[in-house]
C-alpha cells in the first residue's frame, strides 16, 4: 500500500512538476535581470492554446510545441516593451499581460474545445521500465519531461558560468552600476524576458499537449502564480527550482493519491502546503543576504539619459 503510494507520488510529481519547472526557470531568468513578471499566467495560457491549436491543425505536436514557445516569447515582448522601454510599473504591466493572455487564449482556443489531438508521445526508459516493481506509467514520459532537468542545468550554466549571465545578474542587482560598467541594460532585459516568455510558452504547451491533451479556458489554474512563488521558494536559483517544482507538483499528486487510496486528508489543507512553505522559507532565510533576491528587483530603471 505504502509502496504503491510512493510510486504514484514519484511518477505524478515528475509529470506535474515539469510545467511548473519550465515556467519557474523562465521567471528565474527574468527576475535575475531585475524584473518581476506577474503575467506568467497569461503566457502559459497563450502557450497552451496556441500549442493546442497548431497541433489540432497540423497533427504534429512537436510543431505545436515549437510555435507555442515562439508565441510565448513574442507575447511577452509586450510586457518587456511596457516595463523596459516605457518604464512602466512592472506589477501593473504583468497583470495587464495576464488579463490579455486570459482573453486572447479564450479567443484562440474557442474553436478547439472538445477537439481531439494526438498529444506528445511517451517514451519508456529502456531497462528501467522492465524492473518488476515499476508500474506502466513510471519511467514513461514525453520528451519535454526528459529535457526539463537538462534545461535547468543549461539555465544555471548560462546564468552563472557565462559572461552573458554575469551581465544579466549585474543588471538585476543594480541597473545603474551595470550601465556604468558598459552593459546594455535594456537589451539584456529584453533578452531575459524573451527567454522567460519562451519557457512559459513551453510550460503551457506541456499542459495542453502532454497532460490534459485538451484545451479548456483558464486551464492553467493559477500555475503561473505558483511559478512566481516557486522562484522565491528556490531563492532565484535554477537548480533549487527543480526541488521546488517536484515538491509543489508532489503536493497535488499526494493529495490525489491519498484520496485514491481512501485516506481522508482535506485536499484544501494539502494544497495550502506549498504557499505556507514558501512563506516559511522566506521567514527562515530573512536574515541571510547570500544569494537572496536580486537587489534591483521590481524597480523601474529610468535610464541614464
Amino acid at each position: 500500500m505504502t509502496w504503491t503510494l510512493i510510486r504514484g507520488v514519484v511518477s505524478g510529481c515528475i509529470m506535474f512538476g515539469v510545467p511548473l519547472l519550465y515556467a519557474t526557470l523562465g521567471e528565474v531568468i527574468g527576475q535575475r535581470a531585475g524584473m518581476v513578471n506577474l503575467g506568467l499566467e497569461g503566457i502559459l495560457l497563450v502557450g497552451a492554446s496556441v500549442g493546442f491549436a497548431v497541433t489540432a491543425e497540423t497533427g504534429n505536436p512537436f510543431l505545436g510545441v515549437a510555435i507555442a514557445v515562439l508565441a510565448g516569447g513574442v507575447f511577452n515582448m509586450l510586457y518587456a516593451y511596457l516595463a523596459v522601454t516605457r518604464r512602466a510599473n512592472q506589477l501593473a504591466s504583468g497583470l495587464a499581460l495576464m488579463f490579455l493572455g486570459i482573453g486572447l487564449s479564450a479567443l484562440i482556443g474557442k474553436a478547439y474545445i472538445g477537439k481531439r489531438i494526438v498529444g506528445l508521445a511517451r517514451y519508456q526508459i529502456p531497462g528501467l521500465a522492465q524492473l518488476p516493481w515499476v508500474t506502466k506509467t513510471m519511467f514513461s514520459y514525453d520528451v519535454l519531461v526528459y529535457l526539463s532537468v537538462p534545461v535547468a542545468v543549461l539555465v544555471w550554466w548560462a546564468l552563472f558560468r557565462t559572461r552573458w549571465g554575469l551581465s544579466l545578474r549585474t543588471v538585476g542587482e543594480s541597473p545603474t552600476a551595470a550601465y556604468a560598467a558598459g552593459r546594455r541594460v535594456d537589451l539584456l532585459r529584453y533578452q531575459a524576458q524573451f527567454l522567460n516568455g519562451c519557457l512559459a510558452g513551453l510550460a503551457g504547451a506541456h499542459l495542453s499537449l502532454a497532460l490534459a491533451m485538451a484545451w479548456t479556458e483558464g486551464m492553467t489554474g493559477g500555475r503561473g502564480f505558483i511559478a512566481v512563488a516557486l522562484v522565491i521558494f528556490s531563492r532565484w536559483h535554477p537548480l533549487r527550482a527543480i526541488v521546488g517544482a517536484v515538491l509543489f507538483g508532489g503536493a497535488v499528486t499526494l493529495q490525489l493519491q491519498l484520496q485514491a487510496q481512501g485516506t481522508g486528508i482535506s485536499p484544501f489543507l494539502l494544497n495550502m502546503i506549498p504557499y505556507v512553505l514558501t512563506l516559511g522559507v522566506l521567514v527562515l532565510w530573512a536574515g541571510s543576504r547570500r544569494s537572496a533576491a536580486p537587489g534591483g528587483l521590481g524597480r523601474v530603471y529610468y535610464g541614464e539619459d
Partner: protein, 351 residues
C-alpha cells in the same frame, strides 16, 4: 485634484477641455484596438459597442448591475491605494476579500437570532477584522523586516480561498442542501439591505464612506499629508518621529479591512451563503484600478465604474455577438496598455 481645484476658473476650464480631449483619444485608441480584435474574430465591432451601451447603461437594470459589480472593485482598489501612500504594495486584496467573507460568515451562522440593527454592524466589524487581520500578518512580516509585503500578500491570496474551501466543504457545509457545498443560509437579519428592487446593496454606501474616509485621511489630515510628503521613505518617516513598523501594520490592517468589507458585502447581500471561489478575481482588478487612478479618490471611482461597464459589456457581447466572455479581458488589457505606454499627449508635464 487639489491643484485643479486651486486653479483659476478660466484656466480650470481649459485644463478640463484639454484633459477631456486626451482621455477621449486614449479611449478611442483602446476601443479601436479592441474593434480590430473583434474584426479579426469575425464580429461587428460597431454593433458590439452599441449593444454594450444599450444594455449596460441604457437600461435601469443594466446600470444597476454595473453598480453592483463596481462595489467590490472600488473597495479592493482603496485597499491597495491606502498602503501605497506608505510605499507598501498590497497585491493581496483577493485574499483579504475572502477572509472578510469568511469571518462575517462565521458571525452570521453563529449568532443566528440577532436583530438586523445589531447584526449588520456586527457583520461590518467582522468583515473588516477578517480582511484586516489577514493583511496585518503581511504587515507584521514586513515590519519585522522578514518578508516583503508584495510577496507575502501575493502568496496569501492563494491560501485564503483554500481556507474558505476547507470550511465550506467541511465544518460549515449546510445540512439543508446536502447536494451543494456551501454554508448554511444567512438569517434574514444578516442580509445587507438592498435598494428598491435592484441588486444594489448597502455595500455601495460602505464603499463610498470608505472612499470619503480615504480622501479625508490622505488629503486632509496632518498624518496623511506627512505620508504623502514622505512617499514611502521610511528613513524620513523615522526622523519625523513616526513609528514606522507600527504604522505599517496598522495601515495594512485598515486596508485589508476595507477589502474584507467587499467580501462580506458580496456574500451577505448577493448570495446569503458562503461558497468556495465566489470572487472572480475582484482583488486583482482592484489593484489595477488603484494603480490606474494613481490613488486619486475620484479616479478610483471613475475607473471602477469604467471597468464594471467593461465586465458587464463582456456578458452582453456573449449574448448578442457570441464573443467569449473571457474576451473582455482583452479590452481591459488594452485600456491598461494604452495607459501604461503613456503616449506623449497623456504624460504629465514635469514641473
Amino acid at each position: 485634484m487639489r491643484s485643479a481645484l486651486a486653479g483659476a476658473a478660466g484656466g480650470a476650464r481649459r485644463v478640463w477641455a484639454l484633459a477631456a480631449a486626451r482621455y477621449a483619444i486614449i479611449l478611442v485608441i483602446a476601443l479601436a484596438a479592441y474593434a480590430a480584435v473583434l474584426l479579426v474574430a469575425g464580429k461587428d465591432p460597431i454593433k458590439a459597442y452599441v449593444d454594450i451601451m444599450n444594455i449596460t447603461l441604457g437600461t435601469s437594470n443594466g446600470l444597476s448591475e454595473v453598480i453592483v459589480r463596481m462595489i467590490p472593485l472600488l473597495l479592493t482598489a482603496i485597499a491597495v491605494a491606502l498602503p501605497s501612500r506608505l510605499g507598501l504594495i498590497n497585491v493581496g486584496g483577493e485574499g483579504q476579500l475572502y477572509m472578510g467573507a469568511w469571518l462575517a460568515t462565521w458571525g452570521a451562522i453563529t449568532f443566528t437570532s440577532l436583530p438586523a440593527g445589531v447584526f449588520i454592524p456586527l457583520l461590518v466589524v467582522l468583515g473588516f477584522v477578517g480582511g484586516g487581520s489577514w493583511a496585518a500578518i503581511a504587515g507584521l512580516l514586513r515590519a519585522k523586516g522578514w518578508v516583503n509585503e508584495t510577496i507575502s500578500t501575493l502568496l496569501m491570496n492563494y491560501i485564503a480561498p483554500l481556507i474558505v474551501g476547507y470550511f465550506v466543504y467541511g465544518a460549515w457545509r449546510s445540512a439543508d442542501s446536502s447536494a451543494y457545498p456551501q454554508s448554511a443560509a444567512f438569517p434574514a437579519a444578516a442580509r445587507l439591505p438592498r435598494f428598491g428592487d435592484t441588486r444594489i446593496h448597502l455595500g455601495l454606501l460602505l464603499a463610498l464612506v470608505a472612499l470619503a474616509a480615504y480622501w479625508f485621511v490622505v488629503y486632509r489630515t496632518e498624518w496623511g499629508l506627512k505620508m504623502r510628503a514622505i512617499g514611502g521613505n521610511p528613513e524620513a518617516a523615522r526622523r519625523l518621529g513616526i513609528r514606522v513598523g507600527l504604522t505599517m501594520v496598522v495601515v495594512l490592517f485598515v486596508a485589508g479591512g476595507v477589502a474584507g468589507l467587499a467580501g462580506m458585502a458580496e456574500v451577505s447581500a448577493l448570495y446569503g451563503r458562503l461558497r468556495a471561489g465566489f470572487s472572480p478575481g475582484y482583488g486583482f482588478v482592484g489593484f489595477m484600478i488603484s494603480w490606474l487612478a494613481g490613488g486619486s479618490p475620484l479616479g478610483m471611482l471613475a475607473m471602477s465604474f469604467l471597468l464594471a461597464v467593461v465586465f458587464s459589456g463582456g456578458s452582453v457581447l456573449q449574448l448578442t455577438q457570441g464573443v467569449p466572455f473571457a474576451a473582455v479581458n482583452v479590452l481591459m488589457a488594452i485600456i491598461l496598455f494604452v495607459v501604461l505606454v503613456q503616449p506623449h499627449f497623456w504624460r504629465r508635464r514635469k514641473a
